[in-house]
């Protein structure tokens, strides 16, 4: 590598990947399609589209059957997915599952079909908390698991469940088929219907022990997932800003377009300020985690806390600037609005990550 200076910009290959994913989504998962899947409560067409393109393998090394690239590529993909408010839950769950599995010996090999999109594996943890806390609700007796894990992302429709159970200073990983005797998955309906959630009930379910993950490795995986959520919120927020600028540029009141009012311009400019800062933080964290830099995990926490909150502030300003039309079911803003609200809570809110950061800064 003939690297001569510090560089922030994306490589040509990364730009191409971005454009390729963007074009594919526009072609096959436009807002009309997303709306149709949401109203029909059937996200399978998108899962099949992702499987055909093997997107679960983007950012995963070729040596384990992925498409190559690293976390920067994966982060880019999630930003683009967010721009399209695509039903990306299974990709997110998949990233978590792969992250856990790839950090134990032969872990990825044991998850047949995941990278090719032939199998969907849900990460059986409460999606409202950091994934590295594991499923503390589940008891192990011999090789049998029992307990109730609420709010598991993409549990409905999953073919397998990866259950990380807290053990001293790490997580024990267990794998079980979603249709095994003693498994019951009760769907939960969230306001954001582009993602599936369910409570997982386990009663004496026979499971396979995959291995043991140290605490730091689990934190890294959680940081990766948090970062991907942040990137997705950034993409959604950028789209909402674009929609807003376009709308206020054609909506006329008092004889002028409302976008010429300073109050409106300032609101839009404030959004841009936050999103550019989020962009800096997200891609720095992707690089730092990918390269194993010391501050990678912390920067991912910061990105999650800042970007998901900033996206919600964007959503509320976008709603205000659209006037009443933005408050309707038929306007697309609602899809993005609900998504960024959910992302704020997914994997733990900003408060959770700021508390972790305060701990790392040794405030007491």
């Amino acid at each position: 590598m003939g690297r001569t200076t510090m560089r922030f910009a994306f490589s040509e290959e990364q730009e191409m990947l971005h454009d390729m994913i963007h074009a594919a989504l526009q072609r096959e998962a436009g807002l009309d399609k997303v709306r149709c899947w949401v109203e029909g409560e059937n996200l399978l067409p998108f899962d099949e589209f992702v499987a055909r393109n093997a997107w679960a393998g983007i950012g995963v090394g070729e040596e384990v059957g992925g498409q190559g690239g690293g976390l920067i590529e994966q982060t880019l993909m999630f930003e683009v997915l967010g721009r399209s408010v695509a039903p990306s839950g299974s990709l997110l769950a998949g990233a978590g599952v792969l992250g856990f599995a790839s950090r134990i010996p032969d872990g990825v090999e044991q998850l047949h079909g995941l990278l090719e999109g032939k199998a969907t594996v849900a990460l059986c943890v409460n999606a409202g908390r950091p994934a590295d806390q594991g499923a503390s609700q589940v008891q192990v007796s011999g090789e049998c698991l029992s307990g109730i894990v609420p709010m598991v992302l993409e549990a409905p429709g999953a073919s397998q469940l990866l259950v990380p159970i807290p053990a001293d200073d790490g997580l024990e990983l267990w794998l079980l088929p979603a249709d095994a005797p003693g498994v019951e998955i009760r769907s939960r309906r969230l306001i954001d219907r582009t993602r599936r959630f369910g409570d997982v009930h386990l009663q004496d379910v026979q499971a396979r022990h995959l291995g043991r993950l140290p605490r730091d490795a689990a934190r890294e995986v959680n940081a990766v997932m948090a970062l991907l959520i942040a990137a997705e919120s950034l993409g959604a927020a950028r789209r909402m800003l674009d929609m807003t600028v376009e709308y206020v540029g054609q909506r006329v009141q008092f004889g002028v377009v409302v976008g010429s009012f300073q109050a409106v311009k300032h609101a839009a400019a404030e959004i841009l300020v936050e999103l550019e800062a989020a962009h800096s933080g997200i891609y720095y964290a992707a690089w730092a985690l990918q390269e194993g830099q010391e501050d990678g995990v912390q920067q991912a926490w910061i990105a999650k806390a800042f970007a998901t909150d900033a996206a919600v502030r964007t959503a509320d300003r976008a709603l205000m600037l659209h006037g009443a039309i933005g408050y309707t079911w038929e306007h697309d803003l609602q899809l993005f609005y609900k998504r960024v609200k959910l992302n704020q809570e997914l994997l733990g809110s900003a408060r959770t990550y700021r508390e972790r950061l305060a701990d790392a800064l040794q405030l007491h």
Binding site: T4, F8, V248, V256, H266, V273, E276, Y284, I302
Partner: protein, 390 residues
């Protein structure tokens, strides 16, 4: 995407660090009064110059080192780390010099640039007027033809360091053209009759900026910069350098956060509990720490674009709007941790406390200088987002 120093840059960083570690500790405390501080600073600047660190990113032909903007940034990072003296030549070497390199005649370059780098001449900026602040193009100071030069009549205001400056960059009207047309950009020698500097007390009591009354001050033709009546364009590049300097970090926010954390660790609440255990305080510090890292990363992002010879993207326009409230929030929070004693007039008894207070007030100045926050938002909305002018 890569944030590590290249091999060459890493070597440069080592070199600078070693040099600063040897030179900085023997300097002692900077005097408070600006006039004394300038005299204290000049020998330091001379040593920087002799060691080849003045005008790092300036071209070699103008006395610089021709280094990359990244090495320039590395140098300032290391200065921050070593606790080197604050720069007093921000206007001369940061704004005026680069403007002359871009728009000046070769005579002007030969005459002024070297003395800027050695610290012999400090400069000030005579742009704002009582009636021309955010709307700078409405300025009314006039340049009237007199033989081979111009006589300047008018009043300037908010002029930092005018009392110690040898020269000023000056905007004045030379023609009848509307607004932007008819403005010319001059170099004004400050030490002459016809230039009167009156200090202005700021809200905290200090006098760092001034009013400058121009009553027939003389500028010869050879000190006109750029075309006659074409001064607006020259001024815009000066303001660009000013904003870039603010955005890429004239305030060392990392150091502020370290000091804030130390302050929190050393403070107890009225009931004697460590403040660092308070949930609200912990949230707030973490939030500020996070924003600080985002601001610094954005600074690197801007530099990396400049280093590749590209035009700065939207991040450069947003950076000032991100750092300004950040510095205000950090300082305000520190003062709230200190409590009512944080509102005591700065004194020698507690220099750390006085510094938070000064910084908190200075930050308000930064949100106004170089284009107020509200004006910057207009610019961002119109030029970056393409929204309609009103």
């Amino acid at each position: 995407m890569d944030f590590r120093d290249s091999r060459v840059d890493a070597l440069f960083r080592d070199e600078v660090r070693t040099w600063l570690e040897r030179e900085v500790p023997v300097l002692g405390q900077a005097p408070d009064r600006l006039e004394e501080r300038v005299e204290w600073w000049r020998p330091w600047q001379r040593r920087l110059h002799d060691a080849g660190y003045a005008g790092l990113a300036w071209p070699r032909e103008y006395g610089g080192r021709g280094a990359s903007v990244l090495q320039q940034a590395i140098f300032y990072e290391e200065c921050d780390r070593a606790g080197a003296p604050d720069r007093l030549d921000v206007i001369s070497a940061g704004f005026a010099g680069p403007t002359l390199i871009e728009h000046g005649t070769s005579t002007q370059k030969n005459r002024f640039l070297d003395r800027i780098l050695t610290g012999e001449d400090l400069w000030c900026q005579l742009f704002s007027e009582p009636g021309a602040g955010s709307d700078l193009a409405s300025l009314t100071t006039r340049a009237v033809r007199d033989g081979g030069g111009w006589r300047i009549h008018g009043q300037k205001v908010w002029t930092s360091a005018a009392q110690v400056a040898e020269y000023a960059i000056l905007l004045a009207r030379t023609g009848e053209g509307e607004r932007h047309r008819g403005i010319s950009f001059f170099i004004l020698p400050m030490r002459q009759s016809g230039v009167e500097v009156r200090p202005l007390r700021q809200m905290l009591g200090g006098a760092e900026f001034n009013e400058v009354f121009l009553d027939g001050a003389y500028v010869p033709d050879e000190l006109l910069v750029g075309p006659l009546g074409g001064g607006w364009k020259v001024a815009m590049s000066t303001l660009g350098y000013e904003r870039a300097a603010i955005a890429t970090g004239r305030v060392n926010t990392l150091r502020l956060l370290k000091e804030l954390i130390a302050l929190v660790k050393n403070t107890k609440d009225p009931d004697g509990r460590a403040l660092g255990q308070d949930a609200f305080i912990r949230q707030k510090v973490a939030e500020l720490y996070g924003r600080m890292t985002l601001q610094r990363i954005t600074g690197k992002r801007i530099l990396s674009t400049l280093a590749e010879g590209g035009a700065p993207g939207p991040e450069a326009s947003t950076a000032k709007l991100f750092i300004t409230p950040l510095v205000e929030d950090i300082c305000d929070f520190a003062l709230s941790v200190i409590g009512i004693e944080g509102q005591e007039e700065p004194n020698d008894a507690d220099p750390a406390r006085a510094r938070w207070l000064r910084l908190a007030y200075q930050a308000r100045g930064t949100s106004i200088a170089g284009g107020t926050t509200f004006i910057q938002r207009n610019i961002l909305a119109e030029r970056v987002l393409g929204m309609k002018r009103d």
